[in-house]
Symmetry: C2
Amino acid sequence: MAGRSGAAAIVIGDEILSGKIRDSNGPYLIDKLRGVGMPLGRILTVGDDLDEIAWAINSCRGTFRPLFTSGGIGPTHDDLTVAGVARALGREVIRHPEIEAAIRSHYGDAMKEEALRLANVPEGAVLVRSPRSWYPVIAVEEIFLLPGVPELFRMHVDGLVERYRGDPFYLRCVYLGVGETEVAAVLDRIAREHPAVALGSYPRLDDADHRVKLTLEAQVEAPVEAALAALLALLPVEIVLRIE
Amino acid sequence: MAGRSGAAAIVIGDEILSGKIRDSNGPYLIDKLRGVGMPLGRILTVGDDLDEIAWAINSCRGTFRPLFTSGGIGPTHDDLTVAGVARALGREVIRHPEIEAAIRSHYGDAMKEEALRLANVPEGAVLVRSPRSWYPVIAVEEIFLLPGVPELFRMHVDGLVERYRGDPFYLRCVYLGVGETEVAAVLDRIAREHPAVALGSYPRLDDADHRVKLTLEAQVEAPVEAALAALLALLPVEIVLRIE
């Protein structure tokens, strides 16, 4: 493998683990990060539980950055992300005066007292504003606390990922007409001799036209092309169905 | 919340984190576990990396059981699940004679030496056989090592979840015509007074016919009905659009 780290995602919600709602935010973030050339190292999906959220944050923040959380932002008893992040970081939860002002402006005279819970943030948090929403994203130590509602999650992610734009991923694929065991020794050698390239091997058991798809990837073109050339030199030509 | 624990899933594969393949095994397992009344506590998605796999196993196995892993089973350099589980458990990787015999029988004279890597298991592993596959599931300390290929994953999961059949989940839903802040205080009270019931609150921002969906759930009917009655007694009747 070509090194770990990168971003991590923490998806929060009993509704996902219990199958009431299918998570679409994790997949959306995967695609967006890939689009900007930012590796994603982990996705942790946990329930609406303070200890679980704090554990997830703490198990990622030393190794991965940025962190994106999805869900648990809101005014109800099961919205525990702010408190969980604060616990993980050893920070107090404080009321943010700017968000409080925005809430009072948004709800006006009809505001319920519980709406002000939306102004709670981990101490030291900064706000990331979007022109498309009155409610900002809370960020602390490069942890971005995103709402789980897909429309809001996507809107905010679209802007945030631009901060992390890097070199695009460069990918080549080789499709084989034989099973993995036939090429395992060759793959060992390519992986060993080309450590800067991520080499993947994916068998297919359905009625696809190939039995194995190989992927060679890095964020630089030259080592991928070198690994591909070395691979093709070692594979019997008759088993290579096509190259993309 | 009505208590943590339950099963956990560890989805392994660079191809998922990099967006080359959309994971379908996690969602499938969510639905299957729910169908047999087995709570799911966490899903961790990690890359093809020994340390990451070992970390994921160790961070779950004290709290959750059973564990199901998806992916990283096979004969190639990126198939690291057996070694990662062994590392987590402090066990050696050994060659299992029964799997070795099955591999030799399956491949016959054309067998490549690398096929025998499929016989590697953590020491002390037991085999779970399926009438529909020549290759068994490796299990150790109630960790089930499942292949990532969806057809195989599903086949094995369908059998394994039957070992964990419990009381079915009992769910009631209430749809509201107002936002979450309007009912947050009521939800606080219901959650506090009915701790055996998982109470969820899910806002909608799209053009659904409701603004919030509340869920009340447990694996026993009576406390859910009691919480529902208490909830409806506290909610203004005009904001309740329907009850399911």
